[in-house]
């Protein structure tokens, strides 16, 4: 397929309106395979305006007289308006954008063509989190002050080398040493999508672990699987004699029971001695997507009808989802930290709310995951490699007219929860709001390959690692740091327990109201804070430089 077949018209004269804060831009509009360009002509200062077509979420066209208007709603929640000369040109451009922005092929997407200056292909793809993370655990268990059985309780298994056990897991996973690869294979057959229980986080201070999986396939007949039971038994045995475990099921007890009708189910009490089940229902899928859509409708509504903003915000239930996600993560974290228990988290598929809970619990407990590098590793390990289907979940954000199929803003919900943590503990995260915004933007549409595909298996097939640039190498460039890092960061060795009361949670204005008239653009305030926090270190050289700048 050639892009040119989809491009109906080369160019047109247009004016771009980008919201109340920014001046309109006039110039020549042009559609290319991956971008929408507006060239304002040689005399204008910003010489080119560029929009990745992939980031267009929905498009509306209107024509009147001999001109037309196209409204583009972007996945990063921006709304852009293009006033275009000529009816034909308007319709052609609209059709071209529509066709190009909804292409599903991965290997023709922009990341496969993006070759930025200063970055080399293959850079930063050297993160191999399971292996790296295993090394950390090995280190921690060796130096552990806890009794000997603890040490070397875990091993790195490559049983999934060819993705045959579980297509959504990475090649290597961390499992109890006592369980061999054959047993893993049988446990995998007993779990939906082959997602057998694997280690997600080792909590060194208490020697307890966080595991994740998918639901067991007990079905109507209440099937059992000896190897699966043995796996969870081994987890407890190796943690500590007499250790307890909690299974945090992210569905309601009733939903879990109902899942038996379709072949799923939950762990029978008798089959898993020492493990106790807790049900903490978390919304996912369509209800979550609808909540997001309603929230954006409320946020985008013009001022006049906003007398009932708070009850409307309440009605969207987005903040309730934030509250539920954080409370469940706290529950899992408390189980490990206070009860000294092992925790297994799963819902149905184990690729959505499960990851939300395990990754948030780690941020609460693990100071390393709150560093810039640790947070990137967490996302790589607990979201990307753990098989969160980004391609499906982030196909559209809040503005799509088509009925949602697999879309759900579960990763956005995670970022929002992290933002709430950052707001409550302003010094404890090494990264700032800018980092979270960047991750949101890139998870929905990006020139980088990091969030492409739904699993490691797919990424291997598409050769994502060798043919696209990693987002991490893009973000870790020195020029990006000021935007992404928290200037106030001081390492905090303690667990950070957030308050999850509704009055402690806020709407993430920096994201949901990012494009609608912020009082002081947060970057400006951010920049000032940076100056105060860091200019000291430059030994006063900076004041001299910038003070001399305005001279003619």
């Amino acid at each position: 397929m050639e892009f040119s077949e989809l491009i109906r018209t080369g160019q047109a004269q247009a004016e771009l309106l980008r919201g109340p804060e920014m001046p309109p831009l006039r110039g020549t509009l042009c559609v290319t395979g991956h971008h929408l360009l507006l060239s304002p002509g040689p005399q204008a200062t910003p010489d080119l305006w560029l929009l990745l077509l992939r980031s267009v979420d929905s498009i509306e066209k209107r024509v009147a007289g001999d001109a037309g208007t196209i409204t583009l709603r972007c996945k990063d929640l921006r709304v852009l308006q293009l006033d275009i000369e000529g009816v034909e040109a308007t319709l052609d451009i609209a059709r071209s954008i529509e066709a190009l922005s909804s292409l599903e092929s991965v290997i023709t997407s922009f990341p496969f063509f993006y070759r930025p200056k200063g970055l080399r292909l293959g850079e930063a793809w050297h993160f191999h989190p399971p292996e790296r993370y295993y090394k950390r655990i090995a280190r921690e268990t060796w130096s552990s002050p806890l009794p000997v059985p603890q040490t070397r309780a875990w091993r790195l298994s490559e049983a999934n080398e060819d993705f045959s056990l579980c297509p959504s897991y990475p090649r290597a996973v961390i499992v109890p040493r006592a369980v061999d690869d054959d047993a893993l294979a049988r446990s995998a057959r007993f779990r939906q999508g082959g997602r057998f229980p694997v280690l997600s986080y080792y909590h060194a201070p208490r020697g307890t672990v966080l595991l994740r999986s998918s639901q067991p396939l007990t079905g109507r007949q209440k099937l059992r699987c000896a190897e699966d039971e043995e796996l969870l038994r081994a987890v407890l045995a190796e943690a500590r004699p007499g250790a307890r475990g909690f299974i945090v099921d992210t569905r309601s007890a009733q939903a879990a029971k109902q899942a038996r009708m379709t072949g799923g189910g939950t762990e029978a009490k008798a089959a898993y001695p020492g493990w106790k089940r807790l049900h903490r229902p978390l919304e996912r899928g369509r209800p979550l997507q609808e909540s997001f859509v309603r929230l954006m409708e409320a946020c985008g509504d013009p001022e006049q009808s906003m007398d009932r903003w708070l009850s409307r915000l309440d009605g969207c239930r987005w903040l309730s989802h934030v509250k539920e996600a954080l409370s469940t993560a706290c529950l899992a974290a408390q189980g490990m930290e206070w009860e000294g228990a092992c925790i297994l988290v799963h819902g149905a598929e184990g690729t959505d709310s499960t990851l939300l809970v395990t990754s948030l619990a780690q941020l609460i407990l693990d100071p390393l995951s709150r560093t810039m590098a640790g947070f990137q590793e967490l996302i790589e390990r607990e979201w990307i490699q753990a098989g969160h289907p980004f391609q499906l979940r982030c196909a559209h954000s809040a503005f799509s007219h088509t009925r949602p199929k697999h879309e759900a803003p579960i990763f956005l919900l995670f970022l929002d929860c992290v933002w709430q943590l950052g707001r409550q503990f302003p010094l404890s995260l090494e990264f700032g709001e800018g980092m979270l915004l960047a991750l949101f933007d890139h998870s929905y549409a990006s020139p980088f390959g990091t969030f492409l595909c739904n699993s490691e298996k797919e990424r291997c097939l598409c050769e994502v690692r060798t043919r696209t640039h990693s987002l991490w190498s893009g973000l870790n460039q020195p020029k990006e740091q000021r935007k992404l890092r928290n200037p106030l960061y001081v390492p905090n060795p303690l667990a950070i327990w957030p308050s999850v009361e509704p009055q402690s949670l806020r709407l993430w204005q920096g994201l949901f109201l990012r494009w609608t008239h912020p009082p002081e653009p947060s970057e400006v305030a951010w920049e000032k804070v940076w100056q105060i926090a860091t200019d000291q270190k430059t030994e006063g050289s900076q004041p001299t430089d910038s003070a001399s700048e305005p001279q003619p």
Binding site: P502, L513, Q542
Partner: protein, 595 residues
């Protein structure tokens, strides 16, 4: 009954020292405090259940320390905060902890103590609390007159009206300072010193006073340093049902307009809703009609009166204390309308500020009497327009000037030392103003020299009666009581330990006008004030945050010092603040492309 029974009993000296101080504050002389009660009670904590504790009541505060090993609870309540004391349970009460005292406070909390029925212990506590929480009803002095605390700086020196007007460039050839109200004979609720148009004679002023409610004539609050438009404040004109007119008042407003030659309209903002302004005609008040005031345009700002605000805050308390309404938190919050009122006040102030800052016209602000909504509007507009008021001392001056000296009726609105808790004159107007300031500081995190703690300590001492700052309704009453000689100023406490109240991110920007966004989307409930008693909203580990802020403050000071040195060393023309590196525009090139 000997009130001095427990006067610093030997065994109490250790604890007494701590009792009389706010922690970290300087030791005060102990002579003025005496312990009235020292006994064991059960404090019925709404969050953790009954806690056995030892309560000490002095003539300034009620202090309770938990006697239980697993609780470090400390209650520390200045008696001035108490608005109501009730006995709960009677001689026949049988239930556990059902006999005792219920105390309602002005600062969004209630206290409940259970006492033993025998030995008149409740009667003693009730009587002593009533006596010292409501000294006015017992012909006792308010505590501020007994307080002998000494501070390094004298907060009464912070505000000097002549100096403040001089800072604004007054008097000039259009505006003069008049002493016509030197002995409060023109208007007993105005300060002694007023700024009025040069062309209006003292006789003119007297004739205008006759036509303004409580003689509160239009006087200058603030003048724009460049375009010379002004903010004037006053009360409503006495139009009445018959639609009376007053040539002198009409002429006076025109004289104000004429101080800016190029402008042909004066803008009058009536803070009230239109219907309320009309209704006021029935009681002799009203508003400036188009017919009578040709060169003025009038706008209503729809801000409700003190009664509406009081009821709204009461609803806020209902949903946050003791338990937070959780299930539909945001909808419940909306139903209190508190944020909506905040929005209207801010919107009004933004309009005033915008008129003046754009040089479109001078502005006259009034409501009915010109001491509640008017004070809110003028002071908030001044805060938006003049960066000086965003410093710690500048803010103190703003409060001292627009609120205290211009007769916001603190005594009536707060009810210092008064037992009549249901008094219809009480209203949280000043709290609402401070809330608006907090909203602004949230939206502009680097624009204010002070932090949240500064605003909270002001509110705490609005009620505490430890300082003379907020006592009485007007300057004339304060002068009669010799408040500045006989009491300590709150600003003495604050200014002798300023670092505690500084915002480490403050970036001084002269001439920057702040326009907050007064949209419901950008306003939020001030949780750290209204829900501060609830332990569940507290984040753990506050200390590292505070410590880091202190470090940042130190860094900042050093940085500013070095910057100043460098600027001096470089070249004089570089000292223009717009070229300093704190200007964000140079640091933030606009990124156009989307990658």
């Amino acid at each position: 009954m000997s009130l001095l029974r427990g006067l610093l009993g030997m065994e109490l000296i250790g604890i007494s020292v701590r009792l009389f101080l706010d922690f970290q504050e300087k030791p005060a002389s102990l002579g003025t405090f005496f312990i009235l009660i020292d006994k064991e009670v059960i404090y019925i904590c709404p969050f953790n259940g009954p806690i056995k504790g030892r309560v000490y009541i002095t003539n300034y505060r009620l202090y309770l320390r938990s006697l239980e090993t697993d609780s470090a609870l400390i209650l520390d309540v200045p008696l001035g905060v108490i608005s109501r004391i009730e006995k709960m349970g009677g001689a026949t009460s049988r239930g556990e902890n059902s006999y005792g005292l219920d105390i309602t406070c002005k600062d969004m909390r209630n206290l409940r103590f259970a006492l033993k029925q025998e030995g008149h212990s409740r009667r003693d506590m009730f009587e002593i609390l009533t006596r010292y929480a409501f000294p006015l009803a017992h012909s006792l002095p308010i505590f501020a007159f007994l307080n002998e605390e000494k501070f390094d700086v004298d907060g009464w020196m912070v505000y000097n009206p002549v100096e403040e007007y001089r800072r604004q460039g007054l008097p000039n050839h259009h505006w003069r300072i008049t002493f016509i109200n030197k002995c409060y004979e023109l208007c007993d609720t105005y300060p002694a010193l007023l700024v009025v148009p040069y062309r209006a004679s003292d006789d003119d002023l007297r004739r205008v006073a006759a036509f303004r409610s409580r003689n509160r004539i239009p006087v200058l609050s603030w003048i724009h340093p460049e375009n010379k438009t002004v903010i004037m404040r006053c009360s409503q004109p006495l139009v009445g049902m018959s639609g009376k007119r007053n040539k002198d008042d009409e002429k006076y407003l025109d004289v104000i307009r004429e101080t800016n030659r190029q402008i042909n309209k004066l803008t009058i903002y009536d803070a009230r809703p239109n219907v309320n302004a009309v209704a006021n005609k029935a009681t002799g008040g009203g508003y400036e009609s188009d017919d009578a005031y040709h060169n003025a345009e009038l706008f209503f700002l729809d801000i409700h009166n003190i009664h509406v605000m009081r009821e709204s805050l009461k609803k806020v308390k209902d949903i946050v204390y003791p338990n937070v309404e959780e299930s539909h938190w945001l909808s419940s919050l909306e139903s209190t309308h508190w944020l909506e009122h905040i929005k209207l006040v801010l919107t009004g102030a933004i309009q005033v500020a915008d008129r003046v800052s754009s040089g479109k016209s001078s502005v006259v602000v009034h409501c009915s009497d010109g001491w509640d909504r008017t004070a809110q509007l003028t002071s908030l507009a001044m805060l938006m327009l003049d960066s000086y008021y965003r410093s710690i001392e500048g803010f103190e001056i703003l409060v001292q000037k627009e609120w205290i000296s211009f007769g916001h009726k603190f005594a009536s609105r707060i009810g210092h030392g008064d037992k009549n808790h249901a008094d219809a004159d009480r209203s949280p107007i000043f709290l609402q103003f401070v809330d608006c300031v907090w909203q602004m500081s949230k939206q502009f995190p680097t624009a204010f020299e002070f932090n949240e703690r500064f605003l909270i300590i002001i509110l705490d001492h609005l009620y505490s009666c430890r300082f003379g700052t907020f006592l009485y309704n007007c300057e004339s009453a304060r002068e009669k009581q010799k408040v500045t000689e006989r009491t300590v100023s709150l600003w003495s406490l604050i200014n002798s330990n300023k670092d505690k109240f500084k915002n480490p991110f403050y970036t001084k920007e002269i001439n920057r006008v702040l326009y907050p966004v007064a949209s419901m989307r950008h306003l939020e409930l001030w949780v750290n004030y209204y829900i501060r008693w609830n332990p569940r909203i507290k984040q753990q580990q506050p200390n590292p945050v505070e410590q880091r802020y202190m470090e940042l403050l130190a860094l900042r000071d050093e940085y500013i010092k070095r910057l100043e040195e460098l600027q001096l060393a470089n070249s004089p023309k570089l000292s223009d603040p717009s070229t300093s590196p704190s200007s964000p525009s140079q640091m933030m090139p606009h990124v156009q492309t989307h990658f």
